[in-house]
Subunit: 150 residues, 2 copies
DNA sequence: GGATTATAGTTTCATCTGAAACTAAATGCA
DNA sequence: TGCATTTAGTTTCAGATGAAACTATAATCC
């Protein structure tokens, strides 16, 4: 059909707008209540679930920029929400865990984040959710393929 | 079930990663071949389809920031890809259209963008695509609702 | 063991971004 | 008509961002 590009129906654009909308809401949640940036929250989320990871492992898992992670870790250390212990087996690496204060924030943010996700999915029945899951998976695979090969 | 938040399965996170991945690929396409930023391209896309809109109408349609649009328009005017004519009925407004050079870029980028979209959707059958369409629509509605009401 | 290469993480720098303040024109109102 | 308010669009400023250079440690090769 069309060589016409209508942004409204252009998948990359729709995803971008949707994702920005959601990020804005969710950032507001973190920022207002906990003075927490998106990157910082993501670091906390990863470390909360998997204590003892290093910064570069966080980078691998989250696909965030390593500079961003470095700075987020720095802020979290300084605000006392994260602890870092040098890995004695490899002294370049710093092993991260939540402090008590960090854990307290984590335990409060997780339910709020999950509640927000639930509101997003509210109108969508179980069948639709698993379709969504599968579709996102496929898109992610295609998108990853798009990255490298030209 | 769980009060556990695993980023890998957290919808806002997945959307953000997916959208960033796709945006990166697509930006590369615009940037390398045409020295065109994402915002600039979006402005061109809207104006290409609907010549004669003003900047603020572009803002409305794209949900982009008005500062970003203002700057993108400025760059596009200076690179000679866009023309602006002051609306004589309301001299605050500038009516935008693609120049000949702009149209040439547009006519080359549109098929490339559509091709990229096609590659994204490649593994997904027609049924899945319409599900996706519907799901994104629903999510967008929920996300919009999330914006205002606290 | 010493030189070379690779990796973890940080710093620098130039750019991008968006909120808020601002300018200019238009509209509403007395 | 003249003053106050609203709207279109730009500029300013302060902070976020990411590529590239850098530091420190580890691993590899001779």
């Amino acid at each position: 059909m069309s060589d016409v590009l209508d942004l409204e129906h252009f998948l990359p654009y729709r995803l971008s707008v949707l994702s920005n909308r959601i990020s804005a809401s969710i950032s507001r949640l973190y920022a207002e209540r906990f003075a927490l940036g998106m990157t910082e929250w993501r670091v906390m989320a990863v470390i909360g679930l998997s204590p003892g990871l290093s910064s570069s492992e966080v980078v691998e898992r989250t696909a965030m920029d390593k500079v961003a992670v470095s700075r987020a870790v720095d802020r979290l250390l300084r605000s006392g929400r994260l602890l870092r212990e040098i890995d004695q087996a490899d002294r370049r690496r710093g092993l991260l865990r939540l402090s008590e204060a960090g854990r307290a924030v984590y335990d409060e943010v997780v339910p709020a984040a999950l509640a927000l996700e639930r509101r997003l999915l509210d109108g969508i029945p179980a069948a639709g959710r698993s379709q969504l899951d599968q579709l996102l998976q496929q898109l992610d695979t295609s998108a990853a393929a798009l990255q490298e090969p030209n």
